[in-house]
C-alpha cells in the first residue's frame, strides 16, 4: 500500500518574516505593501483570535489588536524557507512534490527498509525541519491530498468545529505534530474538518481554483460546513447540481480520492543562499562556521541531485559599507563541503578596505553557486580510463608550476595582425572531439625562433639593397668563445617587407630575408650550410637573426 507524508509550514509568511527568530506566540502578522496600504498577509493564531485576518490593512488590524507585532513580508526568505523544506524532504524520498510555497508531499513507497516505518520517517522529517529552524506539521495518509489535509488539521481537533470560519482558526501548535489518517478511517478523520479546507491543499484538489471557490461558496449557502456533511450528500443529486466537480470533492471528503505526485521541477543551474546576521558578525571564525553550515546543507542538496559546484560568488554586506563581491571558479567541480569551505572561507573572512566610519561587522552574506552535472566516463576493458577534461586545468597548472615562474603555458592563438610572428597565449581549451578537422594545409619548413632575436652585423658585398648574396654576417661571440662568429650568405630570398601600426604607439617596419649561410672559413664545404631568417628593422636599422629553418 502506498503511503504519503505531507509536511506543512503554518503561518508561512510570518515564519519567513520573523526569521531567524521562531514564530512569535504573541499576536503577530506579516504585512505586505498593496500600493500605499500595508495589508496583512498572514497572522498567527493569537492575532487571528483577536480578529486579525489576511487582507486587512495594518491600521484596521492594529485597531482590533493593539499589541500586534508587524513583520514586513520577505519573499526572498520565503523562497529560502521553501528550499529548505524541499531539501529536507528530498533527503528522505526521491519523489517529492511541492504544494504551494508552504507544503511538500513525499511518496514513502519503498522507504521502509531505509528509514523504518512511516511514523519514523515523519518524525525524522519533523526533526530535520526543526533543526533547520522550520516550524512544521506533518500528515500521513494513503493519498497525497489526504496527507496534506491531515497535516493542516493538526491542532484543529482540540477546537470544536463551530463553523467554517471558526474552524480556520487553527492554533499554531508550539511543537511539531503528526496527524495520521488510518487506512479505512479517513472519512471519519476528515468528517469534522471544514469544507473550506479543500481550498487549502492547492494543486492536490481535484478541481481548479476558480470553480472550487464557487462550489465552496455554494456549499456554504447550502449549510454544508464540514467534510462529513459533504461526504453524506447523495451522489446522484450532487452530480445533477454540481457536476463531476462536485462528485470529485465528495470522493475526496470520503477519503476515496486517488492521486499521483507531479514530477519535481528540473534542477536549477544556480543555487542561492542568504545569511543575515543580527547583530552583525565581526568575528571571522563565527562567519566561517555559519558558512560551513550553509555549505553542508548545500552539499547534501547537490549530492541528492547529483550536481557539482563549478563556480561560486560571495556577496558580503558590511555595516556602513558597499557590498563586496568575491568570486571563485573551481578548477575541478566539486560538491565536497570541505573543499568548498577551503576555497570560500578565505574569501569570506578576508579583511576588506572600509571607508571611514564603516564598521567591519558582516550584516549579510549571500552565496550564489553555479552548478552542473558531473561528467560520466565509461571505462573500457583494455584501455586505460579516459581522463576527465574537467581535470585538465589541474594537470596543466601543476605542469606550469613545475616548469618554473619564468615559464609560460597555453594554447597559441594568432593575432589579427600582419605583424610577423604575432600571437598570444590563451587558456588551453581544445574544441570537442566532434569538431571538424581543418583541411590539410601545404606543409612548409618549420622555423625555430630565437627568443629574443640575436643581433647581427651585416656587411653587404656591394651596394645593391635587393640582394644579400655575398654579405658577411658577424654574430657576437657565444659564452666561452673568444672571437665573433662570421657567416657568408650564399643564397638569399627577399626582402619581404611589412609595416603597420604607423598610426599607433608601436609602429613596425621591417624586411625579412631567408638566407642560406655557411661559416666563413668553411664556405665551400658541403653540409655546412644552414637556412636562417634575417630581419632588418627599417626604423632602427638593426639587423637580427629571427631563427633558423629546421
Amino acid at each position: 500500500m502506498n503511503e504519503f507524508l505531507a509536511a506543512w509550514l503554518p503561518v508561512f509568511s510570518l515564519q519567513a518574516a520573523a526569521r531567524p527568530a521562531p514564530p512569535p506566540a504573541a499576536p503577530a502578522a506579516a504585512i505586505e505593501l498593496d500600493g500605499p496600504l500595508r495589508r496583512i498577509a498572514a497572522a498567527n493564531h493569537a492575532a487571528r483570535a483577536a480578529g486579525v485576518a489576511a487582507g486587512l490593512s495594518l491600521s484596521q488590524a492594529l485597531a482590533r489588536e493593539p499589541r500586534l507585532t508587524a513583520f514586513p513580508r520577505d519573499e526572498a526568505a520565503e523562497g529560502e524557507l521553501q528550499a529548505r523544506l524541499l531539501a529536507a524532504a528530498g533527503e528522505l524520498s526521491p519523489r517529492v512534490e511541492a504544494v504551494g510555497d508552504d507544503a511538500a508531499v513525499l511518496d514513502l513507497t519503498g522507504l521502509r527498509r531505509l528509514f523504518g516505518p512511516a511514523e519514523a520517517i515523519a518524525a525524522r522529517l519533523l526533526a530535520m525541519l526543526a533543526a533547520a529552524g522550520l516550524h512544521a506539521h506533518a500528515g500521513l495518509a494513503a493519498q497525497p491530498a489526504l496527507a496534506l489535509l491531515g497535516a493542516r488539521s493538526v491542532g484543529l481537533a482540540a477546537q470544536p468545529a463551530t463553523g467554517a470560519a471558526a474552524c480556520l482558526h487553527v492554533p499554531d501548535c508550539p511543537a511539531p505534530a503528526l496527524a495520521r489518517l488510518p487506512p479505512g478511517g479517513e472519512a471519519a478523520f476528515l468528517a469534522p474538518l471544514p469544507v473550506a479546507f479543500l481550498a487549502e491543499i492547492g494543486a492536490l484538489t481535484p478541481v481548479p481554483p476558480e470553480p472550487l471557490a464557487e462550489l465552496l461558496e455554494l456549499l456554504g449557502r447550502w449549510g454544508v460546513a464540514t467534510l462529513g456533511d459533504l461526504a453524506a450528500l447523495p451522489p446522484c443529486a450532487l452530480r445533477q447540481r454540481l457536476g463531476e466537480a462536485g462528485l470529485a470533492l465528495r470522493r475526496l471528503a470520503r477519503g476515496e480520492a486517488g492521486g499521483v505526485l507531479a514530477p519535481p521541477p528540473l534542477p536549477r543551474d544556480r543555487r542561492r543562499r542568504t545569511l543575515a546576521f543580527e547583530p552583525p558578525l565581526a568575528d571571522g571564525e563565527r562567519l566561517r562556521q555559519a558558512l560551513a553550515a550553509e555549505l553542508e546543507a548545500l552539499a547534501r542538496e547537490l549530492e541528492r541531485e547529483d550536481r557539482m559546484v563549478e563556480a561560486a560568488e560571495l556577496r558580503l554586506e558590511r555595516e556602513g559599507a558597499a557590498a563586496q563581491v568575491r568570486a571563485r571558479r573551481f578548477l575541478t567541480p566539486t560538491r565536497s563541503p570541505r573543499d568548498l569551505l577551503a576555497q570560500l572561507a578565505p574569501l569570506a573572512v578576508a579583511p576588506a578596505p572600509l571607508p571611514p566610519g564603516a564598521r567591519a561587522g558582516v550584516v549579510a552574506l549571500a552565496l550564489e553557486c553555479r552548478v552542473a552535472s558531473p561528467r560520466r566516463l565509461q571505462p573500457r576493458l583494455f584501455a586505460a580510463a579516459a581522463p576527465d577534461p574537467a581535470r585538465w586545468p589541474k594537470v596543466l597548472a601543476r605542469v606550469s608550476e613545475l616548469a618554473g615562474p619564468a615559464a609560460r603555458a597555453g594554447s597559441p592563438q594568432p593575432l589579427d595582425s600582419h605583424r610577423p610572428g604575432a600571437f598570444r597565449l590563451a587558456a588551453f581549451q581544445p574544441p570537442p572531439a566532434g569538431a571538424a578537422a581543418p583541411a590539410p594545409a601545404p606543409a612548409g619548413l618549420a622555423l625555430r625562433r630565437y627568443r629574443p632575436p640575436r643581433p647581427v652585423q651585416v656587411q653587404r658585398a656591394n651596394d645593391d639593397e635587393l640582394t644579400l648574396v655575398g654579405a658577411k654576417l658577424q654574430l657576437p661571440p657565444r659564452r666561452g668563445e673568444s672571437g665573433a662568429r662570421q657567416w657568408l650568405v650564399t643564397r638569399a630570398a627577399g626582402p619581404w617587407r611589412a609595416d603597420g601600426q604607423w598610426w599607433g604607439t608601436e609602429p613596425w617596419d621591417c624586411e625579412d630575408w631567408e638566407i642560406e649561410v655557411a661559416p666563413w672559413r668553411r664556405a665551400g664545404e658541403a653540409g655546412a650550410t644552414s637556412i636562417r631568417r634575417l630581419r632588418h628593422d627599417r626604423r632602427s636599422g638593426v639587423w637580427q637573426l629571427i631563427g633558423y629553418y629546421d
Binding site: 605542469v399 615559464a407 618549420a446 637556412i531
Partner: protein
Amino acid sequence: MSAKLELERMLAARGFGATLPGPERTSPARGGAPVPAGGITELTPSHPAAEGAGATTCALRWAAEMLRARPEAAETGALPPALAWVDAAGAFDPESAARAGLELARLFWLRGAATPVPALLEAAHWLIHSGSFLLVVLDLLDRGEAELRPPPAAWFRLQRALDRCRRTALLVLAPRPLCGTSADRAWSVTREAVLWDERAMPLLAGARLRLESRHARRDGEGARRPPARAWEARLEWEETA
C-alpha cells in the same frame, strides 16, 4: 605470454580487434605511423652539430597527421584530441605549426627556455600520466650539451608511464640520441639539399629531407625485434616553403 595479451588475441580472432588499443604497426615499411602510441620515439639530427636538419619539420608533420587521424573516436569517447609541446628552448613557432596543418587550438605549449631539463622531464611525465594527450613532444633541441644529462632511469620511467597509458605517444627531439633502449623507435633526419626556386627571383622552395630508422624495439605484436638495419627505412619528401 601474459594472460591479458592472450585474451586480447582471442578477442581479436573473434572480430573484436578493432576495440583493442595497442602499439601500432609503426614501420614505414609496413605503412604504419612513425610515432607509436604507448612508447617513446626519438628523433635526432643525423649529425649532432647539424643545425636545421629538419627534425622540427618532421615532428610538426607527424603531430598534424596524428591529430587529423583522431583515433579518439574509437578509443576514448568524447575526449578531444590534443597535443602537448614541451619547448625546452623556447624556439617553437606557431606560424610554422599552423602552416604544417596543426590545429593550434589543440596544442598545449609549455615554454620552458629557462627551466632545467629534469623539471621538463617531470612535466612531460605528468602530461603523459594525465592521459589527455595523443602526443607529447619533448623538444630538447638547442639545449647545450651540459644540460642534456637527465636523471638516471628518467627515460625508463617515461617509457613505463607510456606503457600504462597506451594512448599517448612521446616524441623526443634531441641533438643527439638520449633515450637509449627505452625508445621504441629512433629516427635520424638529414637535410640532403636545400631547394631554391630560381625561375624569376630567388625563392626558398624547401628542403629534401631523409629519415632513417635507427632502431625499432618491438613490433605491433609485442614481441622484441632485433634492432637494426633490418628495420632501416627511408622516408623522403620535398618540402615547399
